[in-house]
Symmetry: C2
Subunit: 390 residues, 2 copies
């Protein structure tokens, strides 16, 4: 058995950044920018007024000064002439400042009668002009890699980047195994339960930016599992759930090794989720998750999510652990790392009462995995602990 | 001019929760559960072993006790008989515990030769049996409203809920206005800029769970804007961007009122984003956002996001403000509420140097809006301030 940290290092060896594809700007939010993108023009492309008012020469600005209004500059329709001495041009927010002008009087500081403009309030020192290129200049880049937020989309639009280079989404095939499983919507027999792991993991992995293919349930036979592996071809990552010990042998490991899987490791010194297996099969990485629903989801957060982030080319791939103050005591931990279901609030973090790895109801009520090191001593209220938000 | 808080209250009067629709379980993540859903069976549906081992009678469990193995209970295939005195049944994790047995010996505590089983290590007090219904019982509900997480999807799968009642997604039509605008990918003229607001807002609003229709850019004419409003029909919310003051009149307000818009308010005492207008037009709510890119995005976070959450039927609709310690000083604030672009890290929060509302590059570098009350005095490093994560 190896540690969680060693397992993650080995998992990172199984996957690498995926190639770039281009998507329309409107589809880029939430994707990972995979190459730097660069503005091809200045923004604003011209000196622009930041207010509604009048463009004049700054050395003529003083209380009671008078100007003749000679034209108008609107957004998209600049004043084509130049502002001469004693002249003013009506200007609107965002419009190009005309040649000859270097100051915009705010309209509230003026009085206009016909073409005659008078300064009626002392203008401030601000010119109310945004210089050309003050937001960004031609050649300004947005650096990859980067998870694209709404703000980045707006900025790329302003930079006139209609197509965006992003990492291809990893394709993940999910195979649930077990004679006892039926799909949601089916009528289960008395010995059967509903397949829940693939649905939970699909939601988790799609939220991280993967494309998920849910394959038919594999039964606890060699031929059924071989059929499922056949259907998984083309995926970047094949994830099996359950089947780690069936009868007296390890079905998933044996069948996948029969299909050429090169095993990287087997079993991790952790709770929940000890029987976790990984390797490469064909062109894909492969991870065998434990079948207990909570174990499968926890292993998803700890191992699959970092693999997805690595395939997406992100720099921050490790789970984003944080610290919080205990609001309930903790018993001594055993010999394995323990990821306890917990609830974190402004008042602190408290582990859920029942840590059995079959309890999806407890997982759904929790919003954190509280991390315990092997043999971590009992902890009191007020001590700081590490956790992973979920 | 009204306050941000008053504006939000008026905006909430313009929209209400949308009707329920059913989606397949696999499409439910990220949606808002709109009606309680209820399990129709117990989980597990039978007393189940939590370990691989042997099912026996607990009153026969003691060191060196011997049993005859009479059968096997696997997941999906229970042992049909009953366990009698001196008998044991081979059992696997998740399998039904046979009648007559109330204890599962862990296989590591036993030695088996043929059909003869001997207890070789003193078993612990735990029975290693999960009672029927320990995760949830038939009739257990998940309460609406609730943003559906991956964990909820897994739980609903286990509850055998194949179709999920969720709030219909709000449909939002976005209309950019301005003679100066061209779409990304076009070749802008010297006086033109690229439409960025609709792209940024589309990404933001889709991330919140809305369906966004980006309409053709409306020019600064009555007929062009009327055409755009015509295309917006069927939306739950129509959002215009810019056009608040064009020439010497308010184009969007005038045209929309000409089309029957009932105005709720106009102008908010805030920075950035003062010219914000709202009302109802036909069957839709309508919001007129300012045209400066940063103002439009900030108003999106402060006003559109809460409206979307209200339409989705969520209980927590207000922006999720937090507090942080200042890591840079702040100057005195003016008479309007100010939402400063800022960067929050573990070290604290610091406002960006340039707060001009045209700077998308600054917005893209920030991850928070630092809230300043009207006339808030200058603040020192170390003081606590309120912010909205973005």
């Amino acid at each position: 058995m190896i540690t969680v940290e060693d397992a993650r290092a080995l998992l990172f060896d199984l996957v690498g950044p995926l190639p770039t594809e281009e998507v329309p700007l409107a589809q880029s939010a939430g994707r990972v920018l995979s190459r730097d993108v660069t503005a091809t023009r200045d923004q604003p492309p011209f000196a622009a007024s930041s207010m509604d008012g009048y463009a004049v020469k700054s050395d003529e600005v003083e209380l009671h000064a008078m100007f003749k209004v000679v034209g108008e500059s609107a957004a998209g329709r600049r004043f084509e002439g130049a502002v001469g001495p004693g002249q003013a041009v009506r200007i609107y927010t965002g419009a190009p400042v005309p040649d000859g002008a270097d100051f915009v009087l705010i309209q509230e500081d003026t009085d206009r009668r016909g073409d005659l403009l008078t300064i009626t309030d002392t203008p401030g020192a601000k010119t109310n002009i945004r210089p050309a290129g003050v937001d960004f200049k031609a050649g300004t880049s947005i650096s990859a890699p980067r998870s694209i937020r709404a703000e980045d989309v707006a900025l790329m639009a302003a930079m006139n980047i209609p197509r965006v280079p992003v990492s291809r989404k990893p394709v993940i095939a999910l195979i649930s195994t077990g004679d006892e499983l039926v799909m949601p919507g089916e009528e289960p027999g008395p010995d059967q339960i509903i397949a829940s792991n693939t649905f939970g993991l699909k939601a988790m992995l799609e939220g991280l930016g993967a494309v998920v293919r849910v394959l038919p349930i594999a039964r606890d036979t060699v031929s059924s599992l071989e059929t499922a592996f056949g259907l998984a071809q083309g995926a970047d990552l094949v994830v099996t759930i359950g089947g780690a010990s069936v009868g007296d042998y390890d079905l998933v490991s044996d069948v996948s090794q029969g299909l050429g899987m090169k095993q990287s490791f087997y079993k991790i010194r952790m709770r929940p989720g000890k029987p976790l297996m990984a390797g490469r099969i064909g062109n894909a990485a492969m991870v065998g998750l434990p079948g207990n629903p909570v174990s499968a989801m926890v292993c998803g957060y700890l191992f699959l999510a970092p693999m997805v982030r690595r395939m997406l080319g992100l720099e921050q791939v490790l789970p984003p652990f944080r610290t919080a103050r205990l609001s309930g005591p903790l018993p001594e931990n055993g010999p394995r790392e323990h990821y306890m279901r917990a609830v974190v609030t402004d008042a602190g973090i408290e582990a859920c009462a029942d840590q059995d790895s079959s309890l999806l109801s407890v997982l759904a009520q929790s919003n954190a995995l509280l991390v315990r090191a092997p043999h971590d001593p009992a902890r009191d209220i007020g001590e700081m602990v590490e956790y992973l938000p979920i």
